[in-house]
Each structure stands twice: as C-alpha cells, then as structure tokens.
Symmetry: C2
Subunit: 415 residues, 2 copies
Amino acid sequence: MSEVVTKASLAKETTGILASLTTGQKNEALLIMAAALRREASAIIAANLEDLERGRLAGTPESMLDRLALDVSRIDAISEGLQQIAVLPDPIGDTLETIERPNGLSIEKIRVPLGVIGIIYEARPNVTVDAAGLCLKTGNAVVLRGGSSALSSNRKIVEVLHNALAETAIPAAALQLIEDPNRSSVDEMLKLNGLLDVIIPRGGSSLIQNVVLNATVPVIETGAGICHTYLDAGSDPEMAERISLNAKAQRPSVCNSMETLLVHRDYAAEHMLSLAEAFRRVNVELRGCPETIALIPWAVPVTAEDYATEYNDYILNIRIVGGLDEALRHIAEFSTKHSECIVTENAEHAARFLQEVDAAAVYHNASTRFTDGFEFGFGAEIGISTQKLHARGPMGLPALTSCKYKIRGNGQIRG
Amino acid sequence: MSEVVTKASLAKETTGILASLTTGQKNEALLIMAAALRREASAIIAANLEDLERGRLAGTPESMLDRLALDVSRIDAISEGLQQIAVLPDPIGDTLETIERPNGLSIEKIRVPLGVIGIIYEARPNVTVDAAGLCLKTGNAVVLRGGSSALSSNRKIVEVLHNALAETAIPAAALQLIEDPNRSSVDEMLKLNGLLDVIIPRGGSSLIQNVVLNATVPVIETGAGICHTYLDAGSDPEMAERISLNAKAQRPSVCNSMETLLVHRDYAAEHMLSLAEAFRRVNVELRGCPETIALIPWAVPVTAEDYATEYNDYILNIRIVGGLDEALRHIAEFSTKHSECIVTENAEHAARFLQEVDAAAVYHNASTRFTDGFEFGFGAEIGISTQKLHARGPMGLPALTSCKYKIRGNGQIRG
C-alpha cells in the first residue's frame, strides 16, 4: 500500500472514536497540543531553518520564504490559534431538527463529523496546525498534504502534535501528514473515494483548480476572488474613497481584496481624479477603460483579460459605467462570486444590488475585506467557499460537519 | 456551440429572474404546468408509445418498459406531484442567521437558489416533470438529460411544459432538455463548470458512479443502498420478523430495502427457522453464512461479494453474529451509509447503534424502508443523498438551495 492509502486508512479507523469524544476531551487535547508547540518551539524552528535553507538554495522568492518562516512569536500565534479553537462552541451532537410523524416515528437530525478530511495546501506551516485543530475540534480525522518545501517544518510539527495527542483522548492516528513530496501523492488523494469524505484545497488558484478539476472525492472549493466595488452616482465621496482604498490596498494579496472598481459616469466626472490620486499615494497601478484614461493621465489601458485576472497585487482596473444595470452586467460576467460591494446612498439601488448579485458576500457601504470567518464572528475559519454546495462564504466549524437522522420506532413498517 | 453548452447558457441567463420570483408566481406556474400535462395527456401518451415501440423492437426487458410507460392515470399522478410541490413552503429568501457585529456591520444569511441544476437520469419520464417542478419551485434553472429510450416522451412533455410556462412568470428557457442521445452529451454536462452549479444523478449505480467519477461540476451523490438490519438477542420475535420482511420484501427494487440481515446467535438459535420460512413464503432467496446454512436447509452459501452487492431483488444475505460489536463491524465494512436498523429491546444497544453507525438514517425498531422524503414529512424528494457534503439522506426542497450573506454597513473598513 502507498503512503497515502496507508495513512488515510489509519485516519479512517479513528473516526468512530472521534465521533464519540466529548467536547471536554477535544478541548483538553487542543490545549495540550498548543502547550506542546510552545514547549518545542526551538526544535520546530530548527526544522524550519532546514526548509528555509533549501528554499534559498533553490532560489525561492523572499515573499514565499516569508510565508514559510517560523520564529517564536509566530509559533506563539499558531499555538494561540489552537487555544481559540478550544473555546469555540462544539457543533457536534447538536440537534438540528426533530420530526414526529403521525405513525409514531420520532426522527432526530443531528450534527456529526464529516469523517476524514483531506487538506491540500502550500508551504505554510501555520496551516498544518490550524487545519488539524479545526478538524479535530469537529471530530474529524485529517490527512494533511502541505507544500513539499515546508516538509521538514511540517514533519516536526506533526511529530510534536502526535506526542501531545498520546496524552489525550484523541488517537494520534487521527492526524496524518503525507510526506511524499511528489505530485503523485496529491493525485492519489484526489481519487481516494471511500477513505476521504471531502478535500479542501487551500492556496493559490492553480492549486485549487487542480483539485477541482481532478478530484473524484467531493471538494469544497475555496478562495478565488475577483471582487468588485461599484461607486454609484451620488455616493458620499469620503466614504467611497475610504472603502475603495481599503478594499484594494489594505492587503492586496488576499482573496477578498478588490480587483476592479466600477464607477458611475456622474460620480467619475466629479471625483475620479481625486480618487486616482489617493490610489497613487499608496502605489496602486491603475488600468482603465478609455473614459477612465481620459480622466486619469497616468492610467494605462485595461484589457478584457485584466478584468478576468485576480492580481492579488497593487494593481486596479477601473471602468466607468452608465448605471447600476451596467455594473451588474460587468459583475455577472467577471465575478468569481466571492465578495461584491456597492457604495450608494440610494436605498433602492442597494436593495437591488444585494438581491441581484450572485456572490457569497454582497456589501452595501462596507469594504469587501470583511469576508472572513473572524470578521463574521465565527471565531475560526477553514477557508472561504466560493462554491454553492454545502457551504458558501467564510466557513466556521459547522462547515466541517455533516448530519445524520436517528429514527426511533416501536415496530413500524411501511405499508 | 454544442447543444449542451447552448442550452445550459440559455438556462443560466434566466437565473437572475428566477431568483427574484415571488412564491406566488412560482406556485401559479406549477399549477399551470400541472393542468397542461393533464390537458395534453393524449399527445404525451402518443409520444410515449413511440418510445415503447422502439424499446420493444430493441428487446428492452418488460420491467424497464413498465418504468417507461405512461397512461392517463400515471400522467394524473405526475401532474398531482406538481400540485403537491406548489403547496410546499418556499425556502427561498428565508433568513437563516443574522449577525450584528461590534463595528456596526449587519450580516444576514439568506437562502438563495443554487443556480442551474443538471439532472442526469434514466428512462423514467416522471422524473422529467418531478425534477423540473422541484428545481423551479426553488428558483433554479434546470438542464435535464434523461435516458435516450424515453426521448420522444421527454420531448413532448417538455414541449407541453414550455407552452405552459409561456403563460407564467417563469421564463421557458429555465427548463432545458438535452436531446442528443449520445453518451458524449452526458460527458459534456459533467465538465460544465461555470454553467452548471451542481449535478444530481438519479438512477442505478453505474449511472451514479459514472457521474461521481467523471464530473468536475459539484455532484450530489444519491441512491446506492446496501442496507442492514440487525436482530439483537432478546428481540421481540414478532416485531423482528415484521420489520425484516418489510425491509426486504415490501419493495425490493428500491435503495432503502435491506440486503443483509445480521442475527444474534442466541436469537438465531430460537427463531431463525420460522423467520426463514416467512421469507420463503414471499419467495426471498436466502444466502447464508455457514452457521445460517446449518439452521436453514434451503439457504445457499453467501460470499463476500454478496455482502457487497445491492441486489434490489428477492435475495437476502443472512449472517449470524456474536453480538452488537460484530454487527457494527460488518456494517462498517459493507454499508453504503444509506439506512441501517437495529431491532432490540436493549436501550443501551439501541443508543450505541444509533450513535456509532455511520449512515444517513439509523433506525431503532423500524423498517429501513422509511428513508424517503415523503415518509420524513418533507412533502417532496429529489433523491436520497449518500454523501456527507451539503445534504445527507432524503433531500427536500432546502437541499436545492444555497445561501448568501448580505452585509449592510455605513462606511466600515477593515483596520
């Protein structure tokens, strides 16, 4: 048996025990895991240095090395993440619905774990701990496949967590790390129906598309965000500028940041230049439609391909539109259905936008940057679903659960 | 553009209108569709005769021709199904959650349609109407691909429904039938990400497996049922026999019927022979483990392959077990996680079985045949999900919905 099948099988064998654990047992385990990470920080940092050195020799860009790097304060933050998961309410065992049938059958719908969750991600060792914590809190076993350039770090982290779990009610085998660095181990996970109940990809769009297009195991698609903000005629210019700047430039590398600004022609005539200057002050490159370029001398021409690109960078497309309908059509064409915003003082336009835009999160007068499990008050986030099945938008703990029906009778048969 | 892409695109264009329809508009349309089917019954029956004749010439078995055949009373029943969907509560627009954040953001989670649903099914013209009614009631567009041997019937039914829709607020293009009888049209639907939001296969296990293994569009897996009943020591023999016979023989062709009976050794010693005689009276062939064969002279030996087979027929596997743990192990190994039952007077055993068996529906002292949307009181059923994502067990109208977050602010930005 391959490493993937062996480890997924071991994980699956623990699902019965995991589903029956009390909330207290799971929370205690999370705290023991958190303490172990802090205690073993220097060993983890030593392993991380191996990854960083290998990365430097391979010419990995600094920005990627930064995501990979661990130090004491980062390990503290990761450890605190586990403590935060421990205090969240446990959804498992909740009764979602009770149905009493005329024939006397009593039907109870209760929340149960999904089973075994596969997580495929990049070279970010924090995801190793975060995903493990979220899955175990919800009674799921987890098979992790992180980027191979973080392998030393992940191996050490999982070793520390396995040792910690040995002191808890959670079987260590519930947490599995695939160490095979070859792409074939990912391919194998994608087809592991019967052993994995779901795969959640976390990372850039090529990683996610590979999973979506090749998995036969059910997938929760996360992350891709081509987000728009529409500035309506008569918007409050101070609010419009504040929201636009925040949506684009507060953290351009994330999925809920804005890629394209749609501006009503009347608003543009009066405010486009000052808005463009504000973007210039924070070093955002502007790509505009012909009308935009006529108003902003330093903007370069935008292409249809630009409209369909998630830059995750200090680049913004600007298009001037004739009104709400044109804005809605642009969004329907280019949106990845992640987060979309209208800035307007017109209540009817706001209502239409919130109703008609098909996206996980639709905003009136607030930055798209709020699409986030913590900002929504979920206390944790396994990712942001951009599909419509199972979960949509920021996914908290309930997104990692399924349900089952318990039916109690006294001899009923079907007539 | 191929027929599939053309029709799916037309369907997708209607999703905005569909999502905004009132419940009254949708219900009125369903009633107009129902009336049209009754009015055009003779034309539909004439088209159905073409399918039946083609089927007879091709040597199609009688049982399949029976599923395909329509007459006035069947069309009446199909039409009544639409009327029943019309009176069900409309889940669209329901507020599922409201969150007020400390920063003043008001977050509302509301139910919305999935978008465009693809249904792939066999030669059962009733599914054409049923699936159309359920999808339209929930504001979804639908692309139907039925078995090619029902093509004349489906074409006429959809023509009747299109004419009916022309009098309603629902655009006729929201209902699309793929007429290309080649397998390639199914393959094309499976990869139609961006145009189809979900595919629901309805039919036998080879149809379902083809969809699950080849679709890149998200799938809701339905139907496969290797269901078990475990007769515990000390069961009420009258109840045990009644439930076992019902689970196997009331309608063996359906997914919630029993394939394997697990019997406690003590119960078997006393009651196996009379139970076996009861099965013989209703013509159920028995395949048994060696201990079973020692008790039932006419039983034939069961194989491991038999335990893994969904017969959908008058055949039953019987295995004698030493107790609850052995029964649970057998179920964990062979169950398709559809419906599982324990017959017992022991409350602790019942509780353990309901907790530990991983299946959509777990029963204590009632027949597995109750796993059904109508029997659960949902008033409709699009299928029975045997996966854990999105929906599990019988799927009523809410299983055909997604959600979105509407967020209202007054200028909030992220710090």
